[in-house]
């Protein structure tokens, strides 16, 4: 089920009513769990089985990890959890990719080898919930967290509908304790939650789908070499589209949780205002980057084993981070570029003194934003050929075809300038903090305009981009 759909409005209204009726907390948790399965199952019912398997395996592993003292056995229980989760991910997400590449490899050795298309459906949100549940068992193995008190609490942690299909990827210590005592949102928090849901939906339906996606599709859908202006605007449009799409989803998830009295971590903090790439990753898809840091980069040795190993660890983390986003070499290359940026930045940081002058910071933020836009080319293009064509257009090496109308150029230009400036201006501030400072009447009017946007947008219920990851 999509947040940006009429069906979800009905679903959410029913959940809220049931949630605030007077009956025991355990019953409410059961209701939330059932609602979460319904939320997921309305997309493809049989794939709920994967969720159940993942839940049962990780719960069982978790229970054994607490009881078991034998370190070798503990390792085996952890291995079971990791193998099952990564096995699901490997088969459903990377199955076709692996067979295609194996076929190509065989063919490059002159072996005429063909594997039948496996016809695998990618279960929505599998990259998110497998990472989430794995963090639980890994943390239990390292004795960093307390186990869930009941199976119901754990199942709800895995399945909690606001963040099930596209995050934020929540750590068990952040969410499970919230299920232990009855939660009710205070009126102020409830309204803030509704406002965040409205902002999230506005970002998705108006900004991403209606204003930016058409230009991005026009540019990335063309096979000819384009005019430099069109190429840049198409890439900027995608840059904005993916931000509003994903940050919009995250805001919706956070807002919905708030209406239930729960708290989810922020996933985006104005990333396009970042100065440098390590700051960018501290502001973009924060829960994934912190997951990769804690469960991949640090176990690899992090920055504790000297300069070269640090650079290698960074690169491995970013390459796998790229692969997490999609089963294609273009995603891996996107990760490679980020790894390269981070590596270069580490070198430069030791040689260049940081300036606190605002215009220097603005320039550096602009440089970061530009470099990140270049990486989006590989993220969005469906092949290296297309990505390189687009890059050659962007750098005026080739191309003369115009594809965007002035209206689109204007919208993308104005909107993305505002995005950059506002992200830079919001550095160190939070959305809720800023909202709270506004006069109530003004906030009401702004909220009303956003609601009006949602009423008139007539979105055709486009899927969130990150659902495919």
């Amino acid at each position: 089920m999509l947040f940006n759909s009429l069906g979800f409005l009905v679903f959410f209204a029913v959940v809220l009513i049931l949630y605030y009726l007077p009956y025991p907390w355990r019953g409410k948790k059961l209701m939330l769990l059932s609602a979460s399965y319904l939320f997921y199952g309305l997309w493809n019912p049989p794939l709920i089985l994967l969720l159940w398997i993942s839940t049962v395996v990780d719960w069982t592993s978790g229970q054994q990890l607490i009881k078991e003292e034998n370190q070798r056995k503990r390792k085996l229980w952890l291995l079971l959890s990791v193998v099952v989760n990564l096995g699901f991910l490997g088969y459903f997400k990377y199955g076709n990719f692996l067979t295609e590449n194996f076929t190509l490899l065989m063919q490059s050795f002159g072996v005429d080898y063909q594997i039948k298309d496996l016809g695998i459906i990618l279960p929505m949100g599998i990259s998110f919930y497998t990472f989430q549940t794995m963090s639980y068992t890994i943390d239990l193995y390292n004795r960093k967290v307390e186990p869930a008190r009941t199976f119901l609490d754990f199942a709800l942690y895995v399945t909690f509908f606001p963040q099930l299909v596209a995050g934020p990827i929540v750590r068990s210590s952040e969410l499970i304790p919230q299920f232990y005592q009855e939660k009710k949102a205070e009126l102020k928090v409830f309204l803030q939650g509704l406002l965040l849901l409205t902002i999230g939906l506005f970002e998705k339906t108006i900004l991403a789908d209606s204003l930016l996606s058409p230009a991005a599709e026009s540019v990335f859908g063309k096979t000819e070499n384009l005019l430099g202006l069109d190429a840049w605007m198409g890439v900027l449009a995608f840059s904005g589209q993916i931000f509003f799409d994903f940050a919009g989803y995250s805001l919706c998830a956070i807002g919905i949780a708030m209406t239930l009295g729960m708290k989810l971590p922020y996933n985006f903090k104005y990333p396009y205002g970042a100065i440098g790439f390590s700051e960018f990753w501290g502001k973009w898809h924060i829960t994934l980057s912190s997951w990769l840091r804690d469960y991949l980069y640090i176990p690899l040795g992090g920055n504790r084993k000297g300069f070269t190993r640090t650079q290698i660890n960074l690169m491995i983390t970013m390459l796998l981070g790229g692969l997490w986003h999609g089963a294609a070499w273009t995603f891996v290359f996107w990760g490679f570029l980020h790894g390269l940026y981070l590596g270069i930045e580490r070198v430069l940081k030791t040689k260049i003194k940081k300036s606190s002058k605002w215009f220097t910071q603005l320039f550096l933020a602009f440089l970061t934003f530009t470099a990140i836009n270049i990486t989006w080319v590989f993220f969005r293009a469906d092949s290296f050929g297309k990505a390189l064509d687009l890059l050659s257009s962007m750098f005026f090496i080739s191309g003369e075809k115009a594809v965007l109308q002035n209206t689109q150029l204007l919208i993308v230009g104005v909107l993305m300038s505002l995005v950059f400036v506002s992200h830079f201006a919001m550095r160190g501030r939070t959305l809720v903090g800023t909202i709270e400072k506004l006069p109530q009447w003004l906030l009401g009017v702004i909220w009303g305009i956003l609601l009006f946007g949602l009423i008139i947008v007539q979105s055709s219920g486009q899927q969130f981009i990150y659902f495919q990851f």
Binding site: L9, V10, L410, G444
Partner: protein, 330 residues
Amino acid sequence: MTKTTLIIAVITALLLSIIWELSFKNLGYKPYHDDIDDLWAIWRRTVPTLSESDIIIVGSSRAHFDINTALWEKEYGKRPVMLASVGTSPGPIIKDLAENTEFKGTLIIGVSPSLFFGDPNSGGWQRLRDRMKHFEKQTYAQRLNQAVFMQIDPHFSYINDKLQFKTLVDWLPVPQRDSVRPPLIWPDMSMNDEYRNLHMIAEMETDTTMQKAMKNIWDAFGWTPPDTNKTDSIIDLYAGWVGTLKSRGANVIFIRPPSSGKYITHEHEFYPREKYWDVVLEKTDCPGYHFEDYEKTDGFICPEWSHLLPQDADVYTYELLELLKKDGHL
């Protein structure tokens, strides 16, 4: 944040929405069921339940506009399932009915030459494939959305596929680049109901601005002849699917709904009936009803060259029914 904030927000949103709705009402937009993919899917889903006495209509916009299924039901006692689709070739749905269903009833195939004889890789075929893909992959969540949407859609003028926010952006008075094709702004010349019974609005008879806007769009598409090298293979595709349908007892009938003005001129020139229409009937061995063959279906003036006014669609539907009954097809 307090209740007052929410109240201000709701009042603001309501006021703006009312102004929005009234503005589009004033511009002549009417509330009706949009012919979106989900609605088409509802009717496609009924196919497995149809019997030998049921009728399905497929084709492009002419079959969709020009046959009034409500009138058909009144006159014949049974409403046909309308699966014709605007801007598409019926090729993919005929293939689907032949290969993926057990349909044994009567299939009426509307022929709009440029789409019917279009290349199977062209947009006309692809658009219907996309619609069918939506049907095949439709989730329970999407069905729930449609069920809710259908309760709201027919009550508001602004809820209209042509008034999606991303489409309205094209209305901005910004001078456009010469090298890029300007966006097409489609006039709202039809109304549709939950049965997908589509008809042209009566205003089209006199509203020359809308007529001109529509004719401009046809001109913008260009008047290009078909690739004659592909014609035989395209007709063979239809013959194969129709053969499959007929072999299990289905009754297949071709119709050629009216056109006029520039359309008929170009259709006579690019799709001469002896090389197209007659060949289709011969290769499929099916009956066909060409509007030019019958006095009562010939001579209609289509206000924008391609589709009938509602009163003319009623006459055409009635006469077509009479012909089908007279020849024992119904």
